[in-house]
């Protein structure tokens, strides 16, 4: 491919090739300060025109690579950075077989991990990013990787993908140099990426023992409810992209996780009360 770049995110190395320079330039700026990637990459991502003439005429970026979704719509070149991010996510979702992959955010304190999971829009990305600026280590905002052999969580601290209202929340919290460009009019609305802080990057190879699972929900009055183990298990199978394809190994890892971790559902009206609530629940769980 004409342009290429490799990235190391937690235990996973990506090789990203592109027909155009712009998406990779944006990616290199956003991922400045990440460690030197492994020479052998786990996944290849390709950003290329849907058809040869679309390189020049109304350029559109098709997201290809080792693993491909057959009906994925191409994206505008202006959103090339988002296409690269989606390409990496796609490889993880379809091709990750080392770890049980949970669609969840995670943060760490004292070697122990807090897992935040819930549907899109529940606010887990924002909450994890905020905790990452307030005394916790951000392990990841999108995917939590559960080691099938030792049951520990591995960090996957890619750039945090902030959407719509969450962008302003974090702009108030973090210096401008850690942000990527603001992308308006994407399929998910406005998006701005945020590079995790140096502490998250320095410690990205350090695993953590899962200690608490929370199901946050934004936009409701403050409330905490217990969630039974069977329900936690079912919700985590739904939050996993590779639970079924891992077979027995996935079942064993998930059973151990649910057995070892207390859990709760929490509703919150705003981010400050969410942070406070998380700290309280974390102390209770300790």
């Amino acid at each position: 491919m004409k342009h290429s770049l490799s990235l190391q995110i937690g235990p996973v190395a990506f090789r990203i090739g592109s027909t155009w320079a712009a998406p990779l330039d944006a990616l290199a700026r956003l991922y400045a300060g990440y460690p030197e990637p492994d020479r052998i990459c786990d996944f290849t991502v390709r950003l290329e025109p849907e058809s040869p003439w679309r390189r020049w005429v109304r350029p559109s970026v098709a997201i290809h690579g080792d693993y491909v979704l057959p009906d994925a719509a191409p994206m505008s070149l202006a959103h090339g950075l988002l296409a690269a991010e989606m390409g990496m996510n796609l490889q993880m979702a379809l091709g990750q077989k080392h770890y049980l992959l949970l669609h969840a955010a995670s943060v760490e304190k004292g070697g122990r991990a807090l897992i935040l999971t819930g549907e899109s829009g529940a606010g887990k990305s924002t909450l994890a990013a905020l905790l990452g600026e307030r005394g916790w280590r951000l392990m990841g905002d999108e995917f939590a990787l559960l080691d099938l052999d030792d049951g520990r969580l591995r960090a996957f601290p890619r750039a945090v993908s902030l959407k719509n209202g969450a962008i302003r929340v974090m702009e108030r919290e973090v210096a401008a140099e850690r942000f990527g460009p603001r992308l308006d009019g994407t399929p998910k609305g406005s998006i701005r990426h945020l590079r995790p802080n140096p502490r998250a990057l320095e410690a990205m190879a350090e695993p953590a023992r899962p200690a608490l699972i929370l199901f946050p929900r934004f936009g409701e009055a403050t409330a905490v409810r217990p969630v039974g183990q069977a329900e936690v298990f079912m919700r985590l199978t739904q939050a996993s992209t590779n639970y079924v394809s891992l077979g027995g190994a996935g079942f064993d890892a998930l059973t151990k996780l649910v057995d070892a971790c207390p859990s709760a559902a929490m509703d919150y009206p705003d981010t400050d009360s969410a942070v406070e609530l998380v700290e309280t629940l974390w102390e209770q769980a300790a």
Partner: protein
Amino acid sequence: MSGARLLVSALRDPASVRDGDWNALIAAARAEQLIGSLAFRLEGQKLPPKLEAILNAARRDANQQRVQALWEAEMTRRALAPLDIPMILLKGNAFHAAGFGASVGRSVGDLDILVPRESLVSVETALIGAGWERMKDADGYDDLYYRQWMHELPPLIHRTRDRMIDVHHTILPTTARPTPDAGALIADSLLLENGLRVLSPPDMIVHAAAHLFADGDLAGGLRNLWDIDRLLREFAVDPGFWPRLAERARLHQLSRPVALALRLAARLYGTPVDPSLADRGRLTDRFFEARLLARNSWGQPVRPALRFAFYVRSHWLRMPPLMLARHLWVKAKS
């Protein structure tokens, strides 16, 4: 070296892999759905730890695919048991069920089965009663096309297990020029200890060759040819195998595709083949080889003109000219 070339030489001679473009090898193996086969083939070689970890995950995944494939075959056997007809597993599922060397690391997607043509309606009804559903628009052109001209029913998908099944009544479209003897395929099939059925070894080779060279545009061809290599090495231990293969290829009117499969397996994977069956090489063999190897170090398909030529060829093989014209007309309008 191209990605596909790297892949072929690693499969052919695992000891020859050297510290090189590992990323190209992995990308090509994934694109050709040969990562599991490669992972087992390279087991025991001295490799960088990172590569070893990637291949280890691929082996684990392949083992899980085997479990799922056998489970799907068993569920289908149970669904069709009341009909009391022979149900024969084809392709990857058959290799796994029979425990052939070709199944080591072999990826499996859909389940392919062969049943007698006169049982098609009752098979479809039984499957739908057991949780499979139609995918294509039930009376659109595609559905009609399948039922009238193809060698299989329109694909069905299982409601809860989300797995596809292709029910065949023969091994080539009815519009293709060769007419394989479907009755003989079924009559000679083997009953395995686990209650499942597979084609006889010579018919298995004939089917693999027909699938690769008498139908389709050679997409995924390196994997099909790797199947042929593994199967031939296992079957040829029996000295009576080659004459039986010659006889069955003639019976099914597929001697030329079988000869071509033998020549290309020998060329790419070094498969030992009977020279009288493989016949003399032809000039066009080079085009087939080039098409099979048309993938670069990023896993991208290359040589678009050659690929397009094989795409056109696949339609030409499948349909008489007038029918092809009508098909293209309908497809262009939709």
